[in-house]
Symmetry: C2
Subunit: 206 residues, 2 copies
């Protein structure tokens, strides 16, 4: 039983492909028919996979849909780890977030599409929050290993507050959507910068 990340077998490749197929099928159906009309059965059919097998990969349609968003949150943590250690915590966090946002690739567009679906579909909110909560632990660990002296309380507070701020900023950005596409990325970048600046300067006000 190896825990290596790079499992080089045909089996592992097929598993990855199956998971991706299900994830994309879920997103396609949600965009085409609306979130409320998506069932596990339909997703499985769309990907030409048995219903039972779908549940081997995801606990439900919500998890399949938000798996796309989870990749984005993981990416933020990964980028944060890669930031130079001399940067302050909030500075590194902000840059990590901006780096992920600047990736204007297919995964990014899918991520935005999922977030827009989640905004309109209340049934996705619990799962969306759970995804962030799960990544909080990873981010807290990453922050902790950056500190000169360990401070679990501070690391976890930072992680929690950072993701909460990110979620709020994205929500406010999507809220401004005119018609059927989101505002320009520059607006989002500016909002992220000001939010993190507020946190760094001290949140209190008279």
């Amino acid at each position: 039983m190896m825990m290596s990340v790079v499992e080089t077998g045909r089996r592992e490749r097929k598993k990855l492909a199956t998971r991706a197929a299900l994830r994309q099928a879920a997103l396609r159906l949600a965009l085409r028919d609306g979130v409320e009309n998506v069932t596990a059965e339909r997703i499985a059919d769309e990907a030409d996979i048995a219903r039972r097998t779908f549940f081997n990969y995801f606990s439900g349609k919500e998890e399949a849909l938000l798996a796309t968003a989870a990749v984005g949150a993981e990416a933020v943590v990964a980028r944060f780890r890669a930031r130079p250690p001399e940067e302050s915590v909030l500075h590194a966090l902000r840059e990590a977030v901006l780096e992920v946002m600047d990736r204007d690739d297919v995964a990014g567009h899918e991520h935005v599409a999922v977030l827009r679906l989640a905004r309109a579909a209340p049934s996705l909110l619990p799962q969306q929050l759970s995804v962030l909560a799960a990544q909080e632990k990873a981010l807290a660990a990453a922050i902790g290993s950056r500190l000169a002296e360990p401070d679990d309380a501070y690391a976890r507070l930072c992680a929690t507050v950072a993701f909460a701020t990110l979620r709020l900023t994205l929500d406010r950005w999507l809220e401004r959507s005119t018609g059927d596409d989101p505002p320009p990325l520059e607006v989002l970048r500016a909002e992220v910068a000001t939010a993190f600046a507020t946190l760094a300067a001290g949140l209190d006000r008279p």
Copy 2:
């Protein structure tokens, strides 16, 4: 169709009683048999109410269980509104939280019991986060009406960060549970104070 909060009729009293009976039955069963062994049917039977009627009051067992916790979050918002306007935002928030915690009544003990259940039962996490997210709007509105000049971005950021901090602090407090009961309240009060102090002083670190 009156929207008054105090509906003084026999009907309203019975509805409140039914809701409370279901809520308490859910908590009783979860504590006795474990969260995973609680079903809507059992809750309804325990309260001597039809299964169908249960779903007229709650969307599922998770909501019935977390309803107890939701009351606590609402109380924080209510106390915050009652704080004198000359206090700074974070100061008023901290005092509001401490006021609610100091209420050593039955509702408080039930609230703690539910939080301890939620910590051990992953299936309750999504709903727990949703409860807080729902109260964020109310808290943001309360903060907004306190500010000299309106600042929606700041108000919502404060509300989100405050509840996120509260959730984290409670989690860390329950984490320290020795055996079958939580650490003393004084520890919790101190943790809340330091967390809010950190936010007020600025979250960033080298």
